[in-house]
């Protein structure tokens, strides 16, 4: 269960790390996206600024042709020479010339309005500005750009007339280099949707122009909704409090409505002081939840992921989880089930504890104890326990075990020789042939099949010994007895025939020594006392049987280890009294 629990913990940690990573990725993505958007906005703003500048220069170049036009120069010169009323024919000729020149201009750079102005600032002729058609003495000489042009300067400007934004360029009209320019030509380009589209198409930016608190024109590249810029209307009034905008003419990047980033910029010119400007916008690609990250990915991105790694992780994680579950849950449960079925069928009269590990071993042990108690209440003794069932698999030939003996064909069982001591009927085994080990406990009656002294009905929780299946009689041995060199190998294996023979003929007469008998008696007393302390039954346990067992084991151990004598000591193992045999060489 430990592996499974660790695996669950690892999975929980991995899941937590994954969720935390997603949230972190969400935050990092939003930050990176915002930074990227702000950089893009700054770039867009710069591009728009360059575009407006470049556009003004191109238009001023177009004005050259107007300024060099003979009619324009001549008529403006005439008008400038008269401080009083300008002759109508001068106005007409000027207007006609302007109209012709405007028509010849490239479509993308065609002016909305074109004015020819004399030295006094009077508009001598104009096209495209119909609202001024009926005004006598229409004057434009007060504008700085017009004054500049009349004094020999070329420049641009931006006006806001009736909340409409105009980009303006002006050039001087020169007739005689020894005199002031005869006049000036001023071109206006109104900023409307067509201009915004043209700008957006060439700059790749989403741009809107605003004046008087409203958006006058807006456009966005294909695939971008320009109505996003409508959200700035509510924000324009806040520009009055934006120090950067007021002082530098450009705001810091702002995110409106949580999903669009904008930068406001003033338009150089008179529009600078009139609250007119342009705004560039970009969608702020932010996600609210980590799941939204998935929605951002397109099919190509989804296909390009190393899904095999993901699959591998899933398979490995799942496989490991299943493996641990099988190892720690399914297998022991099935073993328990199989054992329980055998128990139910009567094939065994107790669970083989050694087949279980961990909690299942405890369960098996408890079940065995429970069985014992039930059996004891019913007066049915339990078979002697196999040491292996108690202590787990015993090595075939543990090198250091004092109770290890050759097994298989070399054993007395295979040779059909009778073993010394009481012979017990074979018990069913599920493993290879092993010598039976039986508890030297007293049996309630000689007719008991197991030949194992059954514990008292009120016996404590000691796993009952059982008789393993054997083909020949084998020397009996207390299953609670262990060799000193191996705690888990309390015993037992096949006894060499020569040892059994020697034992039977009394070749080892040394055991008859009085001191050894006395020592065994003490051991017996201690063993009985210990069993009682452990709550084990002692009924029927006699010294005679006890010493027979000790004698056999002593003989086997001496034969095996060539020691001089064997010392037995009592100890408690798994809550049960047990004996340990220690060869003494000196």
């Amino acid at each position: 269960m430990l592996l499974s629990r660790f695996w669950y913990l690892i999975l929980a940690l991995a899941l937590g790390a994954a969720v935390g990573g997603l949230f972190l990725a969400n935050t990092v993505y939003n930050r990176a996206s915002t930074e990227s958007m702000e950089q893009a906005l700054s770039a867009d703003t710069q591009v728009v600024s360059w575009y407006i500048n470049d556009d003004a220069r191109r238009r001023s170049s177009l004005l050259l042709k107007v300024c060099l036009d003979g009619t324009i120069r001549k008529e403006l010169s005439k008008a400038s020479s008269k401080d009083d009323k300008v002759p109508q024919d001068v106005r007409d000729k000027t207007r006609n010339a302007l109209a012709k020149l405007v028509e010849e201009m490239p479509r993308d750079y065609k002016f909305s309005s074109l004015f020819a102005i004399d030295q006094l600032g009077r508009v001598i002729g104009q096209v495209g500005f119909d609202q001024a058609a009926g005004i006598e003495n229409f004057d434009m000489g007060g504008y700085a750009i017009v004054a500049d042009a009349l004094h020999g300067w070329v420049r641009d400007d931006a006006w806001v007339l009736d909340d409409r934004i105009y980009l303006v360029v002006a050039r001087p009209v020169e007739v005689d280099t020894a005199q002031m320019p005869a006049g000036a030509v001023v071109g206006l380009r109104i900023i409307d949707t067509s201009y915004a589209k043209q700008l957006s198409k060439r700059s790749g930016a989403s741009v809107g122009f605003f004046a008087g608190g409203t958006v006058k024109a807006k456009a966005a590249p294909e695939g971008v909704d320009p109505t996003q810029l409508d959200t700035i209307v509510a924000d324009i009034k806040n520009l009055a409090n934006d120090e950067n905008y007021k002082e530098k003419g450009k705001s810091q990047p702002k995110i409106l409505m949580g999903d669009i980033g904008v930068i406001y910029s003033k338009i150089p010119g008179e529009a600078w002081d009139l609250g007119a400007g342009y705004v560039v916008g970009r969608s702020a690609s932010v996600v609210k939840t980590p799941l939204d990250l998935v929605k951002l990915a397109d099919d190509k991105e989804k296909k390009s992921q190393p899904w095999w790694i993901v699959g591998l992780v899933v398979l490995l994680s799942g496989g490991l989880g299943l493996l641990f579950s099988v190892l720690e849950h399914t297998r022991p449960l099935r073993t328990l089930k199989a054992e329980a079925e055998k128990l139910a069928k009567g094939e065994i009269d107790m669970l083989q504890v050694s087949k279980f590990r961990g909690l299942y071993r405890k369960i098996a042990s408890d079940l065995n104890d429970g069985t014992d108690k039930v059996a004891a209440k019913g007066g049915v003794p339990r078979k002697a326990a196999d040491l292996e069932s108690v202590l787990g698999p015993i090595p075939a030939q543990p090198e250091m075990s004092a109770f290890s003996f050759p097994v298989g064909g070399e054993g007395p069982a295979s040779q059909g020789k009778p073993a010394s001591g009481p012979v017990r009927p074979p018990a069913p085994r599920d493993s290879g042939p092993r010598l039976p080990v039986q508890m030297p406990a007293p049996k309630p009656s000689p007719e008991d099949k197991p030949k194992m002294p059954a514990p008292k009905p009120e016996g404590p929780k000691m796993p009952a010994p059982r008789i393993s299946e054997v083909k020949a009689p084998a020397p009996m041995m207390d299953d609670d007895m262990e060799a000193e060199d191996d705690d888990d190998a309390t015993v037992v294996s096949a006894v060499p025939p020569e040892i059994l023979e020697a034992s039977a003929t009394g070749a080892h007469a040394a055991v008859e020594e009085a001191g050894e008998i006395s020592e065994w008696h003490n051991v017996f007393q201690e063993f009985v006392r210990t069993k009682k302390q452990c709550g084990e039954p002692t009924t029927g346990l006699t010294f005679e049987k006890f010493q027979n067992t000790l004698r056999k084991n002593r003989d086997q151990l001496i034969s095996k280890t060539k020691c001089k004598r064997v010392k037995f000591t009592v100890y408690v193992k798994d809550g049960r009294a047990a004996l340990k045999a220690s060869p003494v060489r000196s």
């Binding site: 500048n53 003004a56 006094l120 229409f138 007060g142 017009v146 641009d156 003419g249 003033k266 010119g269």
Partner: protein
């Protein structure tokens, strides 16, 4: 139109010089790069540098006033000031106390004229051809501006004894109509007095001062605009 009618008056003819040295402060300010009034500005190489100086248009900006030592009544009719083309006409106006001014919008788009720091002429929209009367409340200089046209800056100087005003043509020639009496000719540009006072005695006959042109320009080193030719 701008000169109050005077009965039995004589004409004073005069000549100013140096008026092309008077730099228009609005244009000069607009020419400074740090005022963000353009994305680019460059001189036309074929225009001589003396013409590239942004001197004002004297017929609209240089006001010549005949100041009487005695008290002069304000004219009965208002003086018309047109608003259009990024300025008023005239730009600088000198009047006697109590003179009513009538502003008329001569542009096809609206203006929002106001007097700086003067509550009697607050910003108010003037549609095309709309008129708005205003009388300066006291002696002093008033600067007028337009909230919708940053280039529009005009000055109204209210002064005691203003008997007559006039504006020179581009050559500097001017004339005033004055009743017989002693006067001083004062010259105003961009709301300031410039040049030297010129005393003139008007009798029954016209007075010709053209033989002795009056210098009106400020000293060049003080008046020269910085960056005007940038």
């Amino acid at each position: 139109m701008l000169v109050p009618s005077v009965a039995l008056a004589a004409t004073v003819k005069g000549q100013v010089k140096g008026h092309n040295e008077l730099i228009n402060p609005v244009w000069e300010e607009s020419a400074r790069p740090d005022n963000n009034r353009y994305t680019w500005r460059e001189p036309s190489p074929t225009v001589r540098s003396e013409f590239r100086r942004l001197f004002g248009l004297a017929p609209k900006e240089l006001c010549i006033a005949g100041i009487s030592a005695g008290k002069v009544e304000a004219p009965k009719v208002p003086i018309l000031v047109t608003v259009g083309g990024g300025r008023t006409t005239p730009v600088t106006l000198v009047v006697a106390p109590g003179t009513r001014l009538r502003f008329r919008n001569n542009d096809p788009y609206k203006h929002r004229l106001y007097a700086v720091g003067e509550n009697s002429l607050p910003p108010a929209d003037m549609a095309m051809a709309a008129e708005r009367d205003w009388t300066a409340p006291a002696v002093g200089t008033y600067e007028l501006r337009d909230e919708l046209a940053p280039s529009l800056r005009s000055w109204v100087i209210v002064k005691e004894g203003v008997a007559s005003i006039g504006y020179p043509n581009r050559k500097g020639q001017f004339f005033l109509t004055l009743e017989p009496g002693e006067y001083k000719l004062e010259f105003f540009f961009a709301g300031k007095t410039i040049g030297e006072l010129k005393g003139v005695s008007v009798g029954a006959r016209d007075v010709d001062l053209t033989r002795d042109p009056i210098k009106v320009a400020l000293p060049k080193e003080k008046d020269a605009p910085k960056g005007a030719e940038k």
